[in-house]
Structure formats: structure tokens, C-alpha cells
């Protein structure tokens, strides 16, 4: 059977362009589109004549019904071959269960980190390039204990990401002898964080862990704590890592620490430069978004088919060793290697390593803010 | 002629209520419009003041065609109107009501307010009360007083005496006579038709939207047909 290939391959890019994380998603989408552009420019994808087209759709991040409708449109009307997305865990689950699975479409989410997604039945269609919160919690606890922080206050964004991460941090931290003085949520996009900061400040602690987003409530909490002189050290998990934060807060943030998925590969740095030259920031989850799109396309190449049912079995192959390591900006190399029948190990911007049911294994980079810059303090 | 309304037709959306009616009076005269309920008296008044669009006909004020100008401009020309219902600012105090009545005037508002208080002592008593809490008759007085605040040359009253006690009603008619003597013309609608016609120079009987009779007040009062069917015998 000859694959009919004179139509373009389409990738759906479902993120919440409107709604609570609307300020993160443009960069995420651009990162995915960057990967697509790279593959298109290589001119080698599948038969060589095929162009890949990315189609955006709005998940709204919170409204499952609207997200399903958008996904339904992508899949059944635009007939996308696979989906990069969705972003928030709730809508991701909903799209997966209601639309993607029934149509047999592969989804690779860059930012759905809810542990629940690990165990959800998915017919092998769902992957993610961000690690589950359960894993990060452990890392955070390790770092804190090692650095000698025995008491910490914890503020988390009140959604599945924040809460899941907070619970995991708390469990691990306490089992290692740490004490969480208070674990209080904050809502994103609200008017004022005075009350939260007050409560956190009164509970006290050596450090404040902020499991939120860097340009949302998370930032508000940090700013407020600094202003009131409540805390001067912060722990920043992955949602809080990005250049804009030290830039916005200034020197007060120096000395704070954090963690973000990644290994000591040159990928992240390369990606940052790539992003810059393409006119966007390497914000939170944009690395993962790039990788999600890249993985799909590489898997297509490896499967020699653009169909979800074929490519789903190749995602793990291209993502993991053995094979030649592929970094951001090297997608065309990856494609040609695959074409030659060689194996590749996609590392990408966020050091992709998929385990189990298509999860990111979760290698973490330990971060230290120094002189207003994010620097790497080590790897785990 | 201070006011000359010729052959006007008007009404609401698609129903014509008043058809081909004439109203007119000279400076310093008092004119009354009487007629059964629903005859279109209030409708005609509103149309004359420009609160309703005219279907046909013209309104002349001091020989000037004012058929199409806005109500607030008519106020500037010296007309003043007390509607039948909804004729006070409910949520404002009595005094503020009067101040608003004198809105267009630059000077002399305070003095006029004092004069009005003299005329309606009850209003002075209640000057800081929210108008909504006035009794029915007090409201009527306030509404009338508000219209006087503009120092009008032409006053239109829609049932000024409804709900006021006899003693005040006498005062009211006296006052109307008095101001007409000062050269202010008054056009009013009244159900207390006998009293009204008694002081009117001219009367219009309106029935089902049409002019039934136009005559001097005295003649109408003595007309048996009018008495029987419009003035309650």
C-alpha cells in the first residue's frame, strides 16, 4: 500500500491562548512552530515534498467544553495528524478522553504535569515532555534539605499543577525532616496578594517555596513578600523559572534557588539562542513545547507515516537512547539520520527522556539566581 | 397668539390617539382641556411639549414654528410643563427638586424658592425630605412648584388638582389666576372641569382624540350637552 502523501501533514497546537495562562502560551506556540519550521526547511521530511502545517486552537486552559470543541474541530474538520498540547492538565485529560482517544490521535503535552495523567488509560496515544509533579516534589525536597533549609513556607497556585506539586513537595520534604510552616494556595490573576503574603509571613520559615507561574500570582507573592520584608529567599520550581522574573524583581531575587527539568546538555542554551533569533522568549514550558512538536515529527519520520496510529509506537524510540543525540536546531539532522535508517536519541531543549507510559523521566537542573541571571548550580 | 397648535395628530408607535386637533390661546389667557379618561388630553400635551413626535400638524409658539425642536429647548423659550404622572424627582429632596426646576436659570433661584415656599408652606416644612416619601397631594404641590421655578411665560399643567385637598385646590386655582394676570399664559388639563372652566378664557373639549367643542369657559359651562356628557351634570 502506497502512502498517499501529496497533502500536507498537519499538527494541531492546542494551548490556552485566552484564559489564565494566556501570557505563557504565545511563546509556547511559537516554540512548537519553530520546530515545525525547522523540519519544513530541511526539505527532507517523509517524501521530501511534504510541508507540515501547524494549526493553533484555543484550549482556554480551563473550559473543558470549549477545549473539546476546539480539539474536535482540529481533528475532524482540519484533520490534524497529531496534537501538540494541551497545556493545562484538566483540559488535556478531557481532550484525551473525549476526542483524541476516540479518534486515535496522538497528543504530546508540554505542560500537563498532573500525576493523574500517568495512570490514565490512553491506548498509547498520550505522551508528555514535562515531568509529573510527583517527581519534581522529590527533587525540590532534596535540594532544600541539602542546602540546609529546615523550615519552609509554601505557596502554590490553586490548580492541579500547583496543588499536585505542593502536595508532593510537602510529603517528600517532611519525610526528610523538613517542616512546612504553612501551605497556602493563591489564585492566579487576582487583584491583590496582600492577604496571602501576610499569612505566609506570619507562619515564617527560612525560605518560601512558590509553586506557581512566574508572571502570575507567583510573581505577585514574591514581590509582595519582598516589599514587606517577609522573606528574602525563594525556591522556584519549573513554572517560576524564566528570565523575566529576575528582570522584573531585580537584585532582591539574588540567592534564590530553583529547579527545572533538564540535564547538563547544551540543548537549553541552544534553544534560548534559537528563540531569541526567532523573536520570542524561552519562557516556561516553551522548551517542552518545542520538544513535543519535534518528537511528533521525528516519530512520523521514523514510522515513515504521518498517521497517529503508526507514529505512536515510534515516539519512545526517537526520544530515548540508543542513537545519536539530537539537540534543538538539529532536527534536519535527525530527519536525515532516520531516513538513513539510523537510530536517534532526541535530547532537545528539555533533555527529553521518556519513561513508563510516555512520561518525561525528569532530570532536573538546579538553579541559582546570581546577579539577576538564572545560572545552573548542578544537575539531578 | 402665544400658542397656536394647528391640526396636530399624534400618538404612540403605530396608534394614532389625537387626530386633527387645534389648541390656541393668547398671552395672559388661561385655557383648559377637558374630556373623558383616555380622550388623549395628556397625549396632546406631551406632543405640544415635544415629548412625543407629531404625526401631522404644527405647533407655533409666539408665532415661531417649534414643531421639531427638542423639549429642553422649549424650556429655554419659556415653556414649562407639569406631567400628569412621574412629575417629581423621586430620589431627591424637595429642595433639590426645586433647584432642578430652576436649572436653566443663572440667577435668582434662591429667591424663587422662597416665594414658592410661601405659596406652599408644606414644602418648606419638608424641604429636606426625599420627595418619594411625600403624600400624594404634597407631590402634586411639589410638581406644580417645580414648574414655577423656571419663571415661565407659558405654563402647561396636566391635572394639577388631582389629589389635593379642597383648600389647597382653591389656592391653586387662585395662584393660576394670579400668574395669568402677570402675563403668564396657562394651558391645563383638568378633571375638576367646573372649577377649571370657571377661570378659563377658553376651553377645549376633547373626546376620542378629536376637538368636540371649542368655546369660552363660561359658554361651555352653560352648554347642557357638555355638562351632561363631560362635566358630570
Amino acid at each position: 500500500k502506497q502512502e498517499k502523501e501529496d497533502f500536507a501533514v498537519k499538527l494541531g497546537i492546542i494551548f490556552g491562548y485566552t484564559g489564565p495562562i494566556e501570557s505563557l502560551t504565545p511563546d509556547m506556540a511559537k516554540a512548537s512552530e519553530l520546530a515545525i519550521k525547522e523540519v519544513n526547511d530541511s526539505g527532507e521530511f517523509l517524501s521530501g515534498k511534504i510541508k507540515i502545517q501547524g494549526i493553533r486552537a484555543d484550549s482556554t486552559c480551563v473550559d473543558a467544553a470549549a477545549a473539546n470543541a476546539a480539539a474536535e474541530r482540529l481533528i475532524t474538520s482540519d484533520q490534524v495528524n497529531a496534537i501538540v498540547g494541551a497545556d493545562c492538565s484538566g483540559v488535556t485529560t478531557s481532550i484525551l478522553q473525549n476526542v483524541a482517544m476516540s479518534n486515535g490521535i496522538v497528543m504530546i503535552s508540554p505542560s500537563a504535569t498532573s500525576p493523574a495523567l500517568s495512570t490514565l488509560p490512553d491506548n498509547g496515544l498520550f505522551f508528555r515532555t514535562a515531568p509529573s509533579d510527583a517527581r519534581q516534589g522529590k527533587i525540590v525536597a532534596d535540594i532544600l534539605i541539602e542546602k540546609g533549609f529546615k523550615k519552609a513556607a509554601l505557596s502554590f497556585t490553586n490548580n492541579d499543577y500547583g496543588k499536585g506539586l505542593a502536595e508532593s513537595i510537602k510529603k517528600n520534604y517532611e519525610s526528610k525532616g523538613g517542616q512546612i510552616t504553612i501551605s497556602a494556595s493563591h489564585e492566579d490573576g487576582k487583584a491583590d496578594y496582600g492577604a496571602e503574603v501576610s499569612a505566609l509571613a506570619q507562619a515564617g520559615g527560612d525560605i518560601l517555596i512558590v509553586a506557581g507561574y512566574l508572571d502570575q500570582g507567583g510573581k505577585g507573592i514574591i514581590q509582595g513578600s519582598l516589599d514587606a520584608d517577609a522573606f528574602n529567599k525563594f525556591f522556584l520550581p519549573d513554572g517560576m523559572i524564566g528570565d523575566s522574573l529576575p528582570k522584573a524583581i531585580g537584585s532582591d531575587l539574588n540567592g534564590s534557588i530553583g529547579s527545572i527539568p533538564g540535564t547538563d546538555s547544551p540543548g537549553a542554551k541552544t534553544f534560548e539562542n534559537l528563540a531569541k533569533s526567532n523573536g520570542f522568549k524561552a519562557g516556561p514550558f516553551s522548551q517542552e513545547s518545542y520538544d513535543a512538536a519535534a518528537l511528533i515529527m521525528l516519530a512520523m519520520q521514523s514510522a515513515k507515516s504521518s498517521k497517529s496510529k503508526d507514529l505512536k509506537d515510534h515516539v519512545m524510540d526517537v526520544a530515548n537512547a540508543p542513537g545519536e543525540k539530537i539537540y534543538p536546531g538539529e532536527l534536519s539532522k535527525g530527519i536525515s539520520l532516520l531516513k538513513q535508517g539510523k537510530e536517534i536519541d532526541y535530547v532537545g531543549a528539555s533533555s527529553v527522556e521518556l519513561i513508563g507510559g510516555g512520561e518525561s523521566s525528569g532530570n532536573f537542573r538546579e538553579i541559582l539566581i546570581k546577579d539577576g541571571k538564572i545560572t545552573t548550580a548542578g544537575y539531578r | 397668539m402665544i400658542l397656536n397648535v394647528s391640526k396636530i395628530s399624534c400618538g404612540y408607535e403605530n396608534t394614532k390617539i389625537v387626530e386633527n386637533c387645534d389648541f390656541y390661546l393668547k398671552k395672559g389667557q388661561i385655557a383648559s382641556i377637558v374630556g373623558p379618561n383616555g380622550a388623549g388630553k395628556s397625549t396632546a400635551m406631551k406632543a405640544i411639549f415635544g415629548l412625543l413626535p407629531l404625526f401631522e400638524g404644527k405647533v407655533y409658539f409666539n408665532n415661531e414654528d417649534i414643531s421639531y425642536i427638542k423639549p429642553q429647548d422649549r424650556v429655554l423659550k419659556g415653556m414649562s410643563f407639569v406631567p400628569q404622572t412621574n412629575n417629581i424627582f423621586h430620589s431627591m429632596t424637595v429642595e433639590e427638586n426645586l433647584e432642578m426646576g430652576g436649572f436653566i436659570r443663572k440667577t435668582g433661584v434662591k429667591e424663587t424658592i422662597q416665594q414658592v415656599y410661601k405659596l406652599f408652606p408644606i414644602l418648606l416644612e419638608k424641604k429636606n425630605q426625599i420627595a418619594e416619601n411625600l403624600s400624594g397631594g404634597q407631590r402634586q404641590q411639589l410638581a406644580f412648584a417645580r414648574a414655577l421655578m423656571t419663571n415661565p411665560t407659558f405654563l402647561m399643567l396636566d391635572e394639577p388638582s388631582a389629589g389635593v385637598s379642597p383648600i389647597i385646590m382653591d389656592e391653586l386655582f387662585k395662584k393660576i389666576l394670579e400668574i395669568s394676570k402677570k402675563g403668564v399664559s396657562v394651558l391645563m388639563v383638568e378633571q375638576n372641569a367646573k372649577q377649571a372652566l370657571k377661570i378659563s378664557d377658553i376651553g377645549f373639549v376633547l373626546s376620542q382624540g378629536k376637538n368636540k367643542f371649542i368655546d369660552s369657559g363660561k359658554n361651555l359651562l352653560s352648554n347642557p350637552v357638555v355638562r351632561e356628557s363631560f362635566l358630570g351634570g
Binding site: - | 373623558p36 383616555g38 400624594g136 389629589g163 379642597p166 378633571q191 351632561e228
Partner: protein, 252 residues
């Protein structure tokens, strides 16, 4: 039948009612007159439950009814009209009347499902009655007009019409005559007399038209500044100097 003991009501500093005691006898047409702001409407509001008195009690047929809600009093047969018309503006004239009768089967959601037949029959009866009333008030042409679109006088008539939809024990009429054409008012007077004679309705009416009162009412209660000034028949009232001073004026 209606006994009012020592009712007081004040609004802020204003004593609208000051220890008012009054007895309304069954089967009579009592008039309530007095200068503007005497507290007449306030008294009605207190009787019908729209306002709670500061103190005092009201008995209806020896039953204490102080502080009951208006709808409870309606059920006991106390009916009123409003000085400033309170029509249901987006209902037609017909519906304005048809909504009045109490205990309509169709007002219960359950019934409208299980007893559609009975409701239909009842509706027909009410409709017939409403049409009669409309005819009496000369409003036939307007029966399917929105009540909000009526003229000032017509609204007053509708107020009156609503009291004619049911068989009340006592009707409180607040200036039905104001703004109503005198010819029609005469007819209304006839009806009130008829209702009073034939069906033994009790009326209390606030009115400023003395001729009208003279024809209909006895006794006449005069109020001033929140208390009762005089009770008597028309001649007594006309002769009373105090009444002349505060209310009637020299001319009447």
C-alpha cells in the same frame, strides 16, 4: 368590624399617625378626608399590612390582624387600591384583572399538571367576570392593551376594577376619584352604592371631592396631622370650624 386602637407610625422624625383609634362599621361607606399629608394613606398602608405600626392593634371581626402581611390580609378579605396607580404594566388589562382572584387552582405548579380541566373551567369563569368589569369601566377597547399604556384616569379605573373581581369584606379606596372624569365618577358612585346595598360590602374611601362624598358616605372621618379631628355626617363636617380651617377652606 374593623377596630383600630391607638395606632402610631412615624417616619424618622415625622409622626404620620399619632394614636389613631377608629371603628369602621360593617356595611357602611366610611369616608376618610383631611388635608394633604394628614396620614390617610399611611393609615391604609398600616391596615393592609404594607407598613407595620409602631404600636397599637388592629382587629378585624375581633381577630387581631396587626402585623400580618398584605397577602394574608387579602385572603381575609381586606382589599385596597392605590392613590398612585400600581398596575402591572406589562400585563394586559384583562390579565391585570384576571390575576386578582385568590386561590386560583392554576397558581399551583402541581395543579397545572394534574388538573388542567378544572383550571380551564375556572379560568373561563374568571374571564367572564373580568369582561364584565371591563365593560363596566368602559375599557372594552383596551382589554388587550398593556396596562402600562393606559391614561392616568384609566389606570385609576383599573385599580377600582381589581376590587370588583372578588368578594371582599372591606374595601379601602384611596382616591379612586382623582383624575377620573366626573361623568364616569358618578357611575362609579352608583356602583359603590349598589355593591354596598346589594352585597353588603364595607367601604372606606379617601376622597377630596366633597360632593361625591356627600352623596355616598356616612360617617365621615376627618384626619389632620396624624390624628382624628372629627367624625360625623356631611353637615356636621361642613359646619365644623376646625375642619373648614385646615381642610375645606372658606369657599366650600
Amino acid at each position: 368590624m374593623l377596630q383600630i386602637f391607638n395606632i402610631s407610625k412615624s417616619f424618622g422624625g415625622i409622626k404620620a399617625l399619632n394614636n389613631v383609634s377608629l371603628e369602621i362599621e360593617k356595611g357602611k361607606i366610611t369616608a376618610l378626608i383631611g388635608p394633604n399629608g394628614a396620614g390617610k394613606t399611611t393609615l391604609f398602608n398600616v391596615i393592609n399590612g404594607s407598613l407595620k405600626p409602631d404600636n397599637g392593634t388592629i382587629n378585624l371581626n375581633k381577630l387581631n390582624i396587626t402585623g400580618l402581611e398584605p397577602h394574608e390580609l387579602f385572603a381575609m378579605g381586606v382589599l385596597r387600591t392605590f392613590q398612585i396607580s400600581q398596575e402591572f404594566e406589562s400585563l394586559t388589562v384583562l390579565d391585570n384583572l384576571m390575576m386578582v382572584p385568590a386561590d386560583q387552582l392554576g397558581e399551583s405548579i402541581l395543579n397545572s399538571w394534574i388538573k388542567p380541566k378544572e383550571i380551564e373551567i375556572q379560568e373561563k369563569k374568571i374571564l367572564r367576570k373580568a369582561k364584565e368589569v371591563i365593560k363596566f369601566l368602559n375599557l372594552e377597547k383596551l382589554s388587550s392593551e398593556y396596562a402600562g399604556n393606559l391614561s392616568g384616569g384609566q389606570k385609576k379605573l383599573l385599580e377600582l376594577g381589581r376590587t370588583m373581581m372578588v368578594n371582599p369584606q372591606i374595601v379601602l379606596l384611596d382616591e379612586v376619584g382623582a383624575g377620573v372624569n366626573k361623568t364616569l365618577l358618578k357611575k362609579i358612585g352608583d356602583t359603590i352604592i349598589r355593591l354596598n346595598k346589594e352585597f353588603n360590602y364595607t367601604f372606606v374611601m379617601i376622597e377630596h371631592d366633597l360632593d361625591f362624598i356627600a352623596r355616598l358616605c356616612s360617617p365621615i372621618v376627618v384626619m389632620a396631622e396624624g390624628s382624628i379631628l372629627e367624625i360625623g355626617d356631611i353637615d356636621q363636617i361642613r359646619k365644623n370650624n376646625k375642619v373648614i380651617e385646615v381642610y375645606l377652606g372658606k369657599g366650600n
